[in-house]
């Protein structure tokens, strides 16, 4: 069996990034769009940790901690906005929130 290299991790990370992007671009449910954003952020983290491990450098892990912090802030604010939207518009479908369109 071939040993696992950084390349394997990069391919996995790219695949997860693409899955998350498909979710963001095609789903209508806002909750699932937010979950897809979490998938994208995790793809980034896999990449950072892979390079941190490969280069024996701890900076990548520090950066991953900041990415996780951002993910927490984004999820908290995003879900708060979603609750406010649902109170006002009674829908969670992204393409029905079109007040700014003309």
């Amino acid at each position: 069996m071939h040993p696992i290299t950084t390349f394997h991790y990069l391919v996995l990370s790219a695949a997860l990034l693409l899955i998350g992007t498909v979710g963001v671009l095609t789903r209508r449910n806002v909750v699932i769009i937010l979950m897809s954003i979490e998938l994208i952020l995790n793809a980034v983290n896999i990449n950072l940790i892979a390079f941190s491990h490969a280069l024996h450098n701890v900076n990548g892990q520090i950066f991953a901690i900041f990415v996780i912090t951002d993910a927490v802030a984004e999820a908290a604010v995003g879900l708060g906005i979603l609750i406010a939207l649902f109170r006002n518009k009674e829908t969670v479908q992204a393409d029905e929130m079109d007040i700014l369109k003309w």
Binding site: M1, I4, H8, V22, V31, I46, S52, I62, V77, A84
Partner: protein
């Protein structure tokens, strides 16, 4: 022998990550999506452990699976999703979106293919210098070199707390 176990574990965790991810974006019921996302995040945590990032492994499980996913499940309960589950799940521009993602995927794949030879340095797996655990090394770097970003991150979290409280008010 050890590399074999590592390889098997990598493929198991990779299958968890990708399978959970695909299920997350395709399920009709948002609760099923959330459960699949938890599986995917646990797979990512396993990959962190494989790469000797023990602190991030713990953070991933406690913060992501324990914190963020709990938040998601609460919101799914607060927001009535029964009606949304019976409607169309994908928007009208899904074909364009898939084409765009395929283009991005082709670009990333090309770069990975061209850069393949540059990544062989990873085969010497030794980890961090001995005598210093992962958590200690992280703390040393975080509280000396990255002290200012760390403090800015705490301000960011404060802003997020205030923002989510304002958003969840009755009248807005």
């Amino acid at each position: 022998m050890l590399t074999d176990i590592n390889a098997i574990l990598f493929y198991v965790f990779a299958a968890l990550v990708l399978g959970g991810g695909v299920l997350t974006v395709t399920r009709r019921n948002a609760v099923h999506s959330a459960i699949s996302l938890i599986v995917s995040l646990l797979g990512v945590a396993g990959l962190f452990l494989l790469q000797q990032a023990e602190f991030l492994f713990a953070v991933q499980i406690m913060l992501y699976v324990g914190g963020i996913m709990l938040l998601f499940l609460f919101v799914i309960m607060l927001v009535n999703l029964d009606q949304a589950a019976n409607e169309r799940q994908f928007n009208k521009q899904w074909l364009v979106a898939l084409a765009a993602v395929a283009a991005v995927g082709a670009g990333v794949g090309y770069f990975l293919y061209r850069g393949k030879d540059a990544f062989h340095f990873a085969e010497a797996v030794t980890g961090l210098p001995p005598g210093l655990g992962n958590t200690e090394a992280l703390a040393d770097s975080l509280f000396s070199e990255y002290l200012l970003p760390f403090e800015i991150a705490s301000v960011l979290l404060l802003v997020a707390v205030v923002g989510s409280v304002v958003m969840a008010k009755k009248r807005i």
